[in-house]
């Protein structure tokens, strides 16, 4: 079957510029990460925790490639906006359903840039006394980092550009692109 071109993605491709990470590269890297996690967590029945919504794609693909038993759960946090700011600080808007006391927790994230949200979440999870807490991130944007933290599993370092696809959005669009791409500058002006 011939390789897909941007035109094959219809309206989803409108505004999309250069493809930075192809579907194939994403698939390969997620498989590598899954292999390592399966080795490290064998017999530990880890709980994979993700933050809605961007991590859905990565979490789903990663989980299907693990060769060990693992559970998943999700939390959601209030994103910074002019509206939420008026209501105070960041807070959980959906908590975990599974207790994590004494569990091996692997926090799975689609992208880390400033580290502000992740710092808040890790502090929250740490206070619940898990047996271990490690971070697995698919996309790392180190240039934007304000809060440094150890990352045990990392997929790709992303350039200092605004990217979309595979869970990453711009104004809630482009998440469902199966690759990672740049947006054309006119998208930001529009």
């Amino acid at each position: 079957m011939p390789a897909k071109t941007l035109a094959d993605y219809g309206e989803l491709a409108e505004g999309v510029g250069e493809i930075l990470i192809s579907e194939e590269r994403l698939r390969q890297r997620v498989a590598e990460m899954a292999r390592q996690i399966s080795l490290d967590y064998a017999g530990k029945n880890p709980l994979l925790v993700g933050v809605l919504k961007g991590v859905l794609f990565f979490m789903s693909d990663l989980l299907q490639l693990l060769t060990i038993h693992a559970e998943i759960d999700f939390i959601a946090v209030s994103n910074y906006s002019l509206e939420t700011r008026k209501r105070g600080m960041v807070r959980l808007v959906k908590d975990l359903e599974i207790p994590i006391d004494g569990r091996h927790i692997l926090f799975v994230e689609d992208v880390i840039d400033t580290g502000l949200t992740l710092n808040y979440i890790l502090n929250n999870l740490r206070s619940r006394n898990p047996a271990s807490l490690e971070v697995c991130v698919l996309f790392n944007k180190p240039n934007h980092r304000l809060i440094e933290m150890p990352i045990k599993y990392k997929g790709f370092d992303l350039p200092d550009r605004f990217v979309v696809g595979y869970g990453l959005d711009y104004r809630e669009k482009y998440r469902n692109l199966p690759f990672v791409a740049l947006l054309k500058p006119e998208v930001f002006r529009g």
Binding site: Y80, R85, M89, N143, H144, R145, L146, I147, D160
Partner: protein, 142 residues
């Protein structure tokens, strides 16, 4: 020299984290926005708490200095924000280079115009992002 501090956990829940008195101390609206983002995530910050001498005359008087916009004490990190177009930020780049030469132990991170815009977009502040992308940004930078 002014020095104001922020910590979101002490802010009343129904008011903006940056109080009006603190807000008036910022040179640029982008700095105020940055401070409110830090407050929202509970990150302690100080505004321009320290000035680093960079050049001296033959009598030892300081003739050039640099005051990074923010200091994050928990991270031991200084942050400098700029909304200047790259070709207009030569002076700031020179100061940052001198900082690294004279104070290599000090961590300073520069958020450039494009990074500031991306940060605003990330936090859903599309109007502020558009302001940074607009021509007005270069005039408001200190």
């Amino acid at each position: 020299m002014k020095s104001i501090k922020g910590k979101a956990s002490s802010s009343p829940p129904d008011t903006p984290a940056v109080s009006p008195s603190r807000r008036s101390s910022f040179y640029h609206p982008a700095e105020e926005t940055f401070a409110t983002i830090l407050d929202y995530y509970g990150i302690e910050w100080e505004y321009e708490p320290r000035t680093f001498p960079l050049e001296w005359d033959e009598r030892g008087n300081v003739i050039e200095a640099f005051s990074p916009d923010f200091y994050l004490p928990q991270q031991d990190l200084y942050i400098e924000l700029t909304t200047l177009r790259p070709k207009l930020s030569t002076k700031k780049n020179h100061k940052l280079r001198r900082m690294k030469e004279l104070y290599p132990e000090i961590n300073v991170k520069l958020f450039k115009r494009k990074e500031m815009r991306d940060l605003m977009v990330k936090f859903g502040l599309y109007e502020q992002a558009a302001m940074i992308a607009g021509t007005g940004a270069q005039n408001q930078d200190k």
